[in-house]
Amino acid sequence: MNDLTPAIEVSGVRKAFGQVTALDGVDLSVAPGSLTALLGPNGAGKTTLVRIIATLSRADEGRVRVLGFDVAAQPKQVRARIGLTGQFAGLDDGLSGRDNLILIGRLAGLRRRQAVERAGELAATFGLTDATNRLVRTYSGGMRRRLDLAASLMARPALLVLDEPTTGLDPASRQQLWTELGALRAAGTTMLLTTQYLEEADRFADFVYVLNHGTVVASGTAAQLKGTGSLDEAFLALTREGAI
């Protein structure tokens, strides 16, 4: 793999759940070091695609390569290199924040001492130091999200995949999360994130794919899409039908 190899390369991916076609031939590519947004209304197929990329689910057709590895043929290689922040927090409510981080770090392959150290570091980065010994059950929505993101970062993944990380957060928490994602990008982490919010894709993403009904309906930098009016147009048209 060299600098030009895409971090994620999706080609011709289809996936159906019974009668429902969730992905209907998706092609996309994520450049190393970029923050790429997958923008789409509810039901567009964002989670389905993220789960295939993260090796949680298999495509019916098509190929996905992540950091040079085929997700179907080499899932372990992929898992060892990515971090996933799923649509629902991957945390144990019955453990403290610190114990969650240590467990996930160790399952990701860290030694105990490394995991303890890294957990302390990340708790500080994400403003969770005071809450770190409390059970996650007592955390607010924003704290959960931050802890979940911290958990995905325990093993310093080369690629971070985030499924609607800001959905359900109040504006202040959302702002804080974006500050943290910005810092990660500055540190060189490649990110693919899904969102329903047009303005997030516009403000933060290097490259945007607009997904609807399981297909990519527009793609480009936010400026390019806006220049042609297609970002607003495409997305508003989609959300209008998708929202109701």
Partner: protein, 272 residues
Amino acid sequence: MTIAIATEAPTAAIRLRAVRDSGLIAGRNLRVLRKNPGRMLYPLVQPLILLVMQVSVFGNLALAGHASGTVGMSYREFLIPGIIIQNAALTAPTTGLALLRDAGSGLADRFRSLPVSRAAVLAGRLGSDAVVFTVQAMLLLLVAAPLGFRVHTGLPGMLAITGVTVVFGLSVAVLSAWLALLINDAETAERTLYFPAIAIAFISSAFVPVGYLAGWMQPIARVNPVTGAAAVIRSMATGGGLAVPLLELACWGVFLFLVPGFLAARRWQSQN
């Protein structure tokens, strides 16, 4: 991709990794129990209540001395091993329910997205439940002594009884894991997994010798592993013959670990 194949870890390392991961998951389960002690009430307190109640209500009945399996034994000595095994059977569904709780949370996706052996979540759950079953069996033996249960074989007998109870409980737990994942809905599972547990506890020689059961129950009771397990414990306590019931129980144990175990692991993997 040749480079990728070359970096594939050797098999022994993968196995070691699976053991380590299972240990980590088991440790996590036990830590959750420690931090949420209320969750221990069911597996550790309810069995004691059942033991005391059942012995206090039924313990003074007398069985005809010649009834099979009761020769030279008071009814309490017959009944208490049955209660111990009944409790293991009634605790086993908690394994399936806990696994289903994990499967339904975002945590399952987190585990699956990590380079963790896929059997580790199931194996780790069984590992932590082994600890719960052990403590449960020891508590029951401790309380059973003043209620009239004498282990004539001393400490080795007690340890053997604990071991048999744990292995029996775990093998039923494997079955509950598969059933829970098959049902795939926490609420339904909570309301149904206890049916088979109650049934196998009663359609057996746990409380009375097989010959005293309703006619339709007797053939089922004879092959029921609860009957075998209770018989093993009775023999272990009195120092009686073990070979036949132990062999029977071992066959059941191996069968339950392998078949529902395989099905449960496959079920856990295939959830997408």
